[in-house]
Amino acid sequence: MTELSADVVVVGAGPAGLAAAVAAAEAGAHVILTDEQPAPGGQIWRQPWDAQPPAPSRELWRRAEHRGVRLLPETAVFGVQEARCLRAASPGGAVTIRAGAIVLATGALERMLPFPGWTLPGVFAAGGIQALAKSGLEVAGKRIVVAGSGPLLLAVAAFLKRQGAVVLGIFEQAEAMAVARFAGSLLLHPGKLRQAAALLGELTGIPGHHSAWPVRAEGTGWLERLTVRVGDQEQSFELDFLACSFGLVPVTGLAELLGCRVESGAVVVDRQQRTTVPAVFAAGEATGIGGVDSAVIEGAIAGAAAAGSMDPAPSLDRRRNREQAFARRLALAFRLRPELKALCEADTIVCRCEDVRFGALIRYGDAREARLATRCGMGPCQGRMCGPALNFLRGWPLPRPALPLIPVTARALVTDATDRTASATFFRES
């Protein structure tokens, strides 16, 4: 059977996971780095299908390779066999990975809020359309509206414009004052301020609105028309694509399966990025939404700690504290306004896996009852989409992860990749 082992196993090869793998390997540990995506980089450093990966990702990966980090791409950790022993699905079959210590760097996903028509093909998550465009979706010449909330909207709009899309407008639900205050606080972070200024420069010519959000998407079979509310006015657009999401939510399923404490949706960690479970560390967006700078710092601390270094370097510690203050201001500036709860109508589908409508859910008193009665959140996505929405709409707790985290064949659950040579040639050896 295929069993791998390493001193430190890092799950997730985004900025946090790459930084963790490098720090652990540079501290002398033998490191395995797994990611379900075909290439390292995570969300922000996702490699375009026809181009080089971004420079910071290349640089970290070069250091990782130099220290013998073994990357397992297309390898999704779907379960936990016993303490510090993970089960993963790879194209070669299922593998068991034993770890001296684990670093969880599983990142975040986008919060989607249901509104009439949001299930139409052509409606994407904001980072989602960016990811799909980087993997070959043609966006040049397409008319696209960017809506929802958070700085990600600006990054996505600028990306789409660079790809030749016609960005019709950016609609941010937060108030102009809140965003202006947040922008002002960037004076404390000169690096981020420079990036924000560059981004705004790129967006010149694209209408931007605050206190604005989508209310209705329409079309026969595909998205054709979108209505947005700006203050007390409605505007309609003919368009090809909508890119829409309302902030990010930490990915905590694997941490929960391992028994780590999760509070307010994020994995709880201490100064060394230790979770509440011995020898399990976490870093990056999984521990709270803070952006790429904080992901890299936390990853470096977690990787070194997982390899046995005692205290975080004081300079990293200071930088992390500053990033955490930034994260708190970010959450405050872009918190969701209560009016968004009225977007979802009784016949709006909330659970896309099981086609459960809002009206069917609100008959029930609590989340458990509603989920059991309607199967809401029990499809293959395990509530990753409807969970964060219902958390906002109804205050329902996020659904608990179930084994396996992703659908795998019954064979993968019980057996392993039998052909050792086949899987060994698949895994890119470093």
């Binding site: 989607m112 989602g128 993997s135």
Partner: protein
Amino acid sequence: MPEMVRLVVDGLELQVPAGITVAAALLNRRLVARRSVGGEPRAPLCGMGSCFECRATVDGRPHTRTCMVRVRNGLDVRTDD
């Protein structure tokens, strides 16, 4: 011009650039990945493996997230998932 590969979707042959994902290939032809429980057409949403709206049967493997699979010559995709 990038190298092209042949993809078979529900028996229909498509020539698509090597290296793109199956999800992108379907979207570029406005082909939907699946029908929902209630019969609605659905297409990829998250692009990163969490929503499962892009799932299809790929080379006989059901429930495959097509946003995570790169096209290969002769890859067989069925949107009956």
